[in-house]
């Protein structure tokens, strides 16, 4: 290999890098684009060979169909009720626990394990007993059943995330307020909470994403449109529509879009969320 000058080497590296990055972007985004593309085609065009790279006869019929004929609206509503309630409940309880873990170190040493344990156990190990237990108290196929399970599952995550956010708020601020005569509760409400608000928002969006995308528990604990969530409804649709790829794609787009937007909103905290604070 001939010796390259520093500028040549730099240029070569620049173009290699550029090519690799463009390739990675294409592999990442093309499949997603293909779903959007398919969702906007009519049934005939979906089967055209070679496939058309963009819809020749743009149509929204697939979107109309999944809502009018396939109950997608009902599943979406169930998802909103179940996910909303579970996220709210777990934020309420979990952030208090997170505060206690961040501020009382003795407590933290004793309880770390118990707060984290549920996160370590794979769902498959819990689903058989949970199904039987919920069946006994009549909560199978009920929104409430799934709300309870999701709340309990989110709690350790919320507590752990909020602990790491609370730890970043200097204790001095609280102490100063308490010296001035504020109770711990007041100093929590007036000083800590406003400072932790961005962290709270990020944690909320995270649990929202995890809960909204959850499929396994939802599949087993709900099955009818009375309580089934969007992922379960979408999966059921795959079986029913068979080769109606356009409708399948439209349902996929409806289920995916809001969450992708949310994920991009919390990008800054994504790493912390994914590793529960292990990597910041």
């Amino acid at each position: 290999m001939p010796r390259l000058s520093v500028t040549q080497r730099r240029r070569l590296w620049f173009f290699t890098r550029l090519t690799l990055i463009v390739l990675a972007l294409a592999i990442t985004l093309l499949p997603v684009y293909w779903m959007v593309n398919t969702s906007l085609k009519n049934q005939v065009e979906v089967f055209t060979s070679p496939p058309t790279l963009w819809p020749q006869n743009l149509t929204f019929a697939n979107y109309v169909n999944v809502f009018t004929r396939r109950h997608l609206g009902t599943y979406l509503f169930n998802s909103l009720v179940i996910v909303g309630s579970a996220v709210l409940l777990s934020l309420l309880m979990g952030s208090l626990a997170g505060y206690a873990l961040a501020r009382f170190s003795r407590l933290q040493q004793k309880l770390n394990f118990w707060v984290l344990a549920p996160r370590m156990i794979p769902p498959i190990a819990l689903v058989v007993p949970l199904f039987l237990m919920l069946q006994e108290i009549g909560l199978i196929n009920k929104k409430l059943g799934l709300i309870l399970v999701y709340t309990a599952f989110n709690l350790p995550f919320v507590a752990w995330m909020m602990r790491s956010f609370f730890q970043e708020i200097p204790v001095d601020l609280e102490e100063a307020a308490m010296v001035d005569g504020a109770t711990r509760l007041r100093s929590f409400r007036d000083i800590v909470l406003p400072l932790a608000a961005p962290g709270l928002a990020a944690t909320a969006i995270f649990s929202l994403i995890i809960t909204y995308n959850e499929f396994f528990f939802a599949l087993i604990l709900t099955s009818t449109p009375a309580a089934a969530t969007l992922p379960v409804g979408t999966a059921a649709l795959i079986g029913k529509t068979q080769t109606l790829y356009g409708e399948m794609a439209a349902a996929g787009v409806v289920a995916a879009v809001p969450l992708v937007i949310f994920a991009l909103l919390v990008q800054r905290h994504l790493v912390r969320g994914l590793t529960m604070g292990a990597v910041k």
Binding site: R17, M93, Y245, L274, T275
Partner: protein, 289 residues
Amino acid sequence: MARTGEGGKWAPRLLIAPTVICALALTVLPLGYSVLTSLREFPLGQSPVFVGLRNYASLLHDANFHSSLGTTLIFTVVATAFEFLLGLGLALLLKEEFSFQGLIRSSLIVPMAIAPVVVGIIWRLLYGADVGLFSFAVQALTGKSVSVLSSTTLALPALILVDIWEWTPFMFLILLAGIQSLPQEPFEAARVDGAGSWNIFVHLTVPMLKPVIVVSLLIRALDAFTVFDQVFVLTQGGPGTTTEVATLMIYKTAFRFSQFGYGAAMAMGLLVLVMFFSAALTRAFKSSF
């Protein structure tokens, strides 16, 4: 940092009580119930019968369960290895300032935010024999029409590819964060001493990145080991049982064939394996670097 203000000893305990109670209700209670279930049999239409360790005994001789564990292991090892290597490559590629860095980063993490069920749909559209872009490309290149998901040899690699597509961004993000948080001084010193890029990478970057590598591999491997959603949507374990991973087999046993006792026994077996593997993996990484 502990402070006994007017809240006294009870305030913190009160704050944390609901979380710990819920955590216990979701771990100790179901796990206990699961052990109990695994010692029983559930004949249709009759009340459960206590059968002792019979379910566990059958587990040891169940060739289907063993082969599903094998499938799961292949899936986990291959997918995690590729995700790690590709993620590391991407992180190294994007660690320095670059135009449109924010936009590129955002685009690369899209697959991770999409619900696994929808990821299944996306790849159904690509793999489908009659419509798929992927199938079309294969046909154009080789002249042969293939139905990837119904091929006994290609279905598992196809599922692994889906997992790699969805979770490489996860490895990328975490490794990038790890790399960017490393202190700069050792690197500058090494460069001053004339060390090459490869040497710097092997002797500085990797050892310093070790904790992050361990965390990312553990999280991914554990998740891959209990993969369910994409397999359920794409192949349901077929063709035959070539892609039947352990969780799918447990699901079918317990919820399609109503053998709750045997399903629970399998789940307990899997849990023990998961705990064993994660302990072993953590230990191996702690000592190997």
